[in-house]
Subunit: 126 residues, 2 copies
């Protein structure tokens, strides 16, 4: 059986590959859409829930927790009693934008009829 | 309720966003690892199965089918009786490489201890 010779024991779930470990964090259908939404100016739980892709709220809550735990987004209270949070990209989260841009380029080139939501449209649908 | 004003009716599962539609195709923990493997010179089913991340074979079979159906990879018979296939990237599949590079950059910058498998290492573990 092949050995995982390039990963220190126990330090990585699958391998030391930066691609594999990154996908472990945001390799799903939703995480990067949340990052997109924040970049587009959405910052609240209900804003994300109302995006056109209609993320199920249980998945949304889980993804927000995961992205926070990996330091990609942070939540900042903007109101007390009841406390309400605004979700912001960290520097690490902003580092995902070049990935999103490349995916958008690929999608526009290879999936007919797709088009980037403009910031204005993104706001209209909230 | 907000309307999906920017997507023609019935044409997209979630929205017309190129990011959402791209993630519908390869937004998972495995698809881009298969593309990585082919780029690294692996071309056979067993090669993918033996990569360090140990993709479960049922998931591998499903992902290969999906990537073929979207024109990202193609399978070419290299042997008859029994027929055996080599998996190759199409031009559309090669278009994913800039995305992979950006993810690798992000992973190397933000996940401590990750390192890119070299082509030689990739071959050794098969």
């Amino acid at each position: 059986m092949p050995q995982i010779t390039d990963a220190p024991a126990n330090s990585f779930k699958r391998s030391a590959c930066p691609l594999a470990n990154s996908l472990e964090i945001f390799g799903d259908k939703w995480s990067l859409l949340i990052v997109r939404d924040i970049y587009f100016g959405k910052h609240r739980y209900n804003d994300f829930a109302q995006s056109p892709e209609k993320i199920p709220t249980n998945i949304l809550a889980e993804r927000l927790r995961k992205l926070i735990s990996h330091g990609i987004i942070q939540k900042v209270p903007y109101q007390q009693r009841p406390v309400r949070y605004s979700y912001e990209l960290t520097e690490k989260g902003e580092g995902l934008l070049p990935i999103i841009r490349e995916i958008v380029n690929w999608g526009q080139s290879h999936i007919e009829g797709t088009r980037m939501m403009k910031r204005k449209q993104a706001e209209e649908v909230t």
